[in-house]
């Protein structure tokens, strides 16, 4: 059995991760396992990193990864898909936008869900609240126009203008 990382040496170190009902395996040669710090129990990322890497390296079941073209680089930091396959990590926050499409199958195995349901920064919440308010005003404006309620429509139009 060949090492999952270098794909050259014989795999001697086997990591098995059981998460719920799912089992994931990573097989490494001695050199790669030393390099990745696999025997360090306090480094959380080593095994997760490896699994991320291995999973990133495998083609999504039944799909071909659209961002695998070798030329695709993150415009902000220059990271490539190949860099991700090697390191299991991304180069910057914008990489998620650049390489986003291939991620979902990997995230499905890694996490409980693929959409964030937790805390968001206050600034984001505020801008989201504003965006929702704007949407609501637009709807009311359309309704007012349809109902030929032009006075109200004019007021709504002015309010929208003030918000933008």
């Amino acid at each position: 059995m060949l090492c999952n990382v270098c794909k050259q040496n014989e795999a001697k170190v086997h990591l098995t991760k059981i998460v719920g009902d799912k089992m994931q395996k990573v097989d490494l040669c001695e050199d790669c396992s030393k390099e990745k710090g696999v025997d360090d129990p306090t480094s959380y990322s080593s095994e997760d990193l490896l699994l991320g890497q291995v999973l990133a390296g495998e083609p999504a079941p039944g799909e071909s990864d659209p961002a695998t073209e070798p030329g695709v680089k993150c415009p902000t930091c220059g990271y490539t898909q190949a860099d991700f396959k090697k390191a299991g990590r991304f180069g910057c926050a914008d990489c998620y936008a650049t390489f986003g499409e291939g991620l979902e199958p990997m995230l499905k195995t890694m996490h409980k869900g693929v959409r964030h349901t937790g805390k968001s920064p206050a600034a984001f919440q505020q801008s989201r609240a504003e965006a929702q308010k704007l949407k609501l005003l637009q709807k009311r404006l359309e309704k007012a126009i349809t109902e030929e309620n032009f006075e109200e429509a004019a007021q709504l139009r002015d309010e929208i203008k003030r918000m933008k």
């Binding site: 710090g37 129990p41 959380y44 902000t76 990590r89 996490h111």
Partner: protein, 357 residues
């Protein structure tokens, strides 16, 4: 002032107590955050790492929650300094390996600790003795909220907080507790507990030692998934699991005392015998025997020795802590001798364990 002069010595830090600290030694909640646009630490070149730390460090230092605090640049600390911080569980081994552009801000209470340019731009953690997961979450949530207006965190509505490694996406939260489980280990029930925790998507790792070898019967339970659940949900689930593990450990100890008391007293007695009389002893053996001493204390078998003192000895006999107390560079054999000397000295006034009740 050096960081060691700033932090209280182990004799004081090991006195800190918390609920259920017989079994739960400490609780921690860590959040991972990154700035927009700037490359993550592993990919960034030095100038970018410096830009990150120059942006983040002043923002962190300005927070009143961290006062009094100490800020250290990782390249200004010696390898020994860094190893001591690892032994005190303030920084990860990965962070200790970092150099220029990485930093640390910690408060004297050691209840809040921020690593800059570790795997992510910002890894902030709240630590508390005993089982205080919710208090840790409240403290770190407040710190995060206080930092938000000062720093532009990379966040997407679909994927949440964006992190270097996809395994930390979303909440970026790692909730963990350090547990002392000698009962479950002696009763050979620990594998069952680990499997049960794994089914709930929690990782259980030996804190020391290689792979699954758990030295000192100390285990760390932590969440593995960070996306698709909210922080309060993760906190709630892991708190429930921890309470179950505490109950299991208490039951295991109870059962051992009822069914195999002589086995338990034998382990504890022999641990005391070796620790109080050895002339050379490895760090590994020390951790395992001190764990049994700690169990003996919980069972009321020792006079003149309490849990805080045992925890202090556990820390002081770690390699970097030992080295710090001696000027010449110590080899492994010399450390083993000095460790034994320290143990004999500390346990001189402690009487042999008495059968409880």
């Amino acid at each position: 002032m050096t960081i060691h002069e700033f932090l209280v010595p182990p004799s004081v830090s090991c006195q800190r107590t918390g609920p259920n600290d017989q079994i739960v030694m400490s609780s921690r909640v860590r959040l991972a955050r990154n700035l927009r646009k700037l490359p993550f630490p592993s990919w960034a070149k030095k100038p970018d790492r410096l830009r990150v730390i120059e942006t983040i460090q002043p923002a962190v230092e300005s927070l009143p929650q961290l006062d009094p605090h100490f800020a250290a640049a990782m390249d200004a600390l010696t390898p020994l300094d860094k190893q001591i911080l690892v032994e005190r569980h303030l920084i990860s081994r990965e962070h200790a390996a970092k150099g220029a552009g990485s930093g640390l801000v910690v408060n004297r209470e050691e209840s809040l600790c921020v690593m800059i340019n570790e795997e992510d731009h910002l890894r902030m953690q709240a630590l508390r003795p005993g089982l205080q997961i919710k208090a840790c979450w409240q403290a770190i949530d407040a710190l995060d909220t206080a930092l938000e207006p000062k720093l532009d965190f990379a966040f997407s509505p679909e994927l949440g907080y964006l992190t270097a490694c996809p395994t930390n996406l979303g909440t970026g939260i790692r909730v963990s507790a350090m547990l002392h489980l000698p009962g479950l280990v002696l009763a050979e029930e620990i594998t069952r507990i680990i499997n049960a925790a794994n089914k709930l998507n929690f990782a259980v790792r030996g804190l020391y030692g290689e792979g699954t070898e758990a030295l000192g019967n100390v285990f760390q339970v932590s969440n593995q998934m960070t996306l698709g659940e909210s922080e309060p949900q993760i906190i709630e689930r892991i708190s429930k699991a921890l309470n179950q593990i505490i109950e299991e450990e208490e039951n295991a100890r109870q059962a051992l005392l009822e069914k195999k008391p002589k086995t338990v007293f034998n382990h504890i007695g022999r641990a005391y015998g070796i620790l109080a009389n050895a002339h050379t002893i490895s760090s590994k053996e020390t951790m395992n025997l001190l764990s049994l001493l700690r169990l003996g204390i919980d069972l009321g078998m020792f006079k003149g020795l309490d849990r805080a003192q045992t925890d202090e000895i556990f820390l002081l006999t770690q390699p970097a802590h030992l080295q710090r107390q001696h000027t010449g560079k110590l080899g492994a054999e010399e450390r083993d001798i000095l460790r034994a000397d320290m143990l004999r000295d500390r346990l001189r006034a402690v009487q042999r364990p008495q059968v409880p009740g």
